[in-house]
Symmetry: C2
Subunit: 228 residues, 2 copies
C-alpha cells in the first residue's frame, strides 16, 4: 500500500521519539489527573502505539516515573534560573527563586509529590540515578542562591561556619519546602490573604537568613552541597 495519502494518515512503523512522547504524555496525565495512578497503557494509547511499546524505553512503571520526576526537577531548575536571571540584588534573586519553587508546587502538586515524596527510592536502594542527578542539580541552585546570593559576601571556611551554614540552608530550604507543600496539599488556605501571607513569610525567611549569618573578616567559604 502506498504511504498514507488521502484520508488515513498512516504512521510509520517507528514512532520517532517515543521516549519523549511517553514522558510528555505522562506529564500531561499527571497534570490533569493529579495522580500517579495512571496506566502505562493509557500513555501508550495517547502516543498512538501498542500497549507494550513503552517497555522498549522503560523497564517498568517505576523507571518511567523516575524519568518524569527528573524532567520535573529540570523544569523547576530552569524556572528558578529564569526567575533569577535579570535580578541584581542577591536578596531579590533568592526571593525570586523561592517564589518559583513555591509556584511550581502550587501549580502542579502531583508532580511535586512525585519528585519529593518518596514514591521512588524505597529505603536502601535509593532513587534511580537519572532522577538523583536532576534533583542534585536543582538542589545546587538552591544552595548556591543561599550561599552566594543571600549572604552577598564570603565567609570564613571554619568548622563553626560550616555548621552554621548547613543550618541556614536547612532552615531556609525546609521553610520554603514546607510552605510549598502546605499550599500544594491545601492544608492551609486557600484564601484571599494567602498570597500576601505567603509573600510575608518569604520576606521573613530572607530577613531571618540575613540576620543569622555573622560578618566574618575574610576567606571564601566552599561548602558541601548539603549537610550529610
Amino acid at each position: 500500500m502506498i504511504k498514507g495519502i488521502s484520508t488515513t494518515e498512516q504512521r510509520p512503523y517507528h514512532h520517532g521519539d517515543l521516549h519523549r512522547a511517553i514522558v510528555e504524555a505522562a506529564l500531561d496525565v499527571l497534570s490533569e489527573s493529579q495522580s500517579t495512578e495512571f496506566s502505562l497503557r493509557e500513555l501508550a494509547r495517547r502516543a498512538g502505539v501498542s500497549h507494550n511499546a513503552p517497555y522498549k524505553h522503560f523497564a517498568d512503571k517505576r523507571e518511567l516515573l523516575a524519568a518524569v520526576s527528573a524532567v520535573g526537577f529540570e523544569l523547576l531548575a530552569k524556572r528558578m534560573a529564569e526567575a533569577t536571571k535579570e535580578l541584581d540584588s542577591p536578596r531579590q534573586r533568592l526571593g525570586a527563586m523561592a517564589r518559583a519553587y513555591v509556584c511550581g508546587g502550587v501549580n502542579n502538586p502531583a508532580l511535586y509529590r512525585l519528585m519529593f515524596g518518596g514514591y521512588l527510592g524505597g529505603q536502601d536502594d535509593g532513587r534511580p540515578a537519572i532522577e538523583r542527578t536532576a534533583a542534585y542539580n536543582m538542589k545546587a541552585l538552591v544552595v548556591d542562591a543561599i550561599s552566594d546570593g543571600a549572604l552577598g559576601r564570603p565567609i570564613a571556611n571554619t568548622e563553626a561556619n560550616t555548621r552554621m551554614f548547613d543550618g541556614a540552608i536547612l532552615v531556609f530550604w525546609s521553610q520554603m519546602h514546607g510552605l510549598t507543600l502546605l499550599l500544594a496539599d491545601r492544608l492551609v488556605g486557600p484564601s484571599d490573604k494567602m498570597e500576601e501571607l505567603t509573600e510575608s513569610v518569604l520576606q521573613g525567611m530572607l530577613d531571618g537568613l540575613a540576620n543569622c549569618i555573622p560578618a566574618v573578616p575574610s576567606g571564601v567559604w566552599v561548602g558541601p552541597p548539603l549537610a550529610g
Copy 2:
C-alpha cells in the same frame, strides 16, 4: 460439626471487628512496604477473610485509605498531646510538639505522605469527612500550642494582630512541616550531624516565634483555627 476443637481452631463466620482489623493490617503493610500500593486483597488475606469482605466496610480503596489517614492523624495528635503533657514551660511544650511531629514523619514517611500528600481529595470534592475532622483536630493542637503556649501571654484581638498571628502560625507550621518532609523523604541527610542540626533548627523556630510577637497591653486573642 462441633465447633473447632483439637487442631484446627475454626473461626466463627463473623470476624468480630473486621473494620479495625483491616485498618490495622493496612497500617502494618504501609509501615512495612512504605507504599500505599498494596491490595485490599492482601489486607483481607492478613485478616483471614475472603477477598471481598473488606467491601462490606469500605466502599473502595480510597475510603480505606482515608480511614488509615484518619488514624494517622489521631495517632499524631495523641503523641503530641502525650509529649507535651508533663511540661511546664510553653516553649518546652511547643518544642516537644514539634519534635513529635518530626519524629512521626521520620519513623513512617509513607503514612505522612498519605496523610498530608493529597492522595485523597482530588481538587474540588475535598478530602473524605472522616479524614478531615481528624486532621482538623490535629491542626488545632498545633495552633493551640503556638497561640496559647508559645506566646505565654494574651495579645490584643486587633486586625493587625490577627494577621500577624496567622503569619506566625504559617511560618512555624511550614518550617516544621518542611523539615519533617525533607528528613522523611531523605532529601537531606542522613548524617550524624542531622539530629543536632534538626534540634538547632527547632530551637531557631522557637526563638523566631518569640521575637516576632510584640508585647501588647491587654485583651485575649481568640483566633480562627487557621488562615483561610
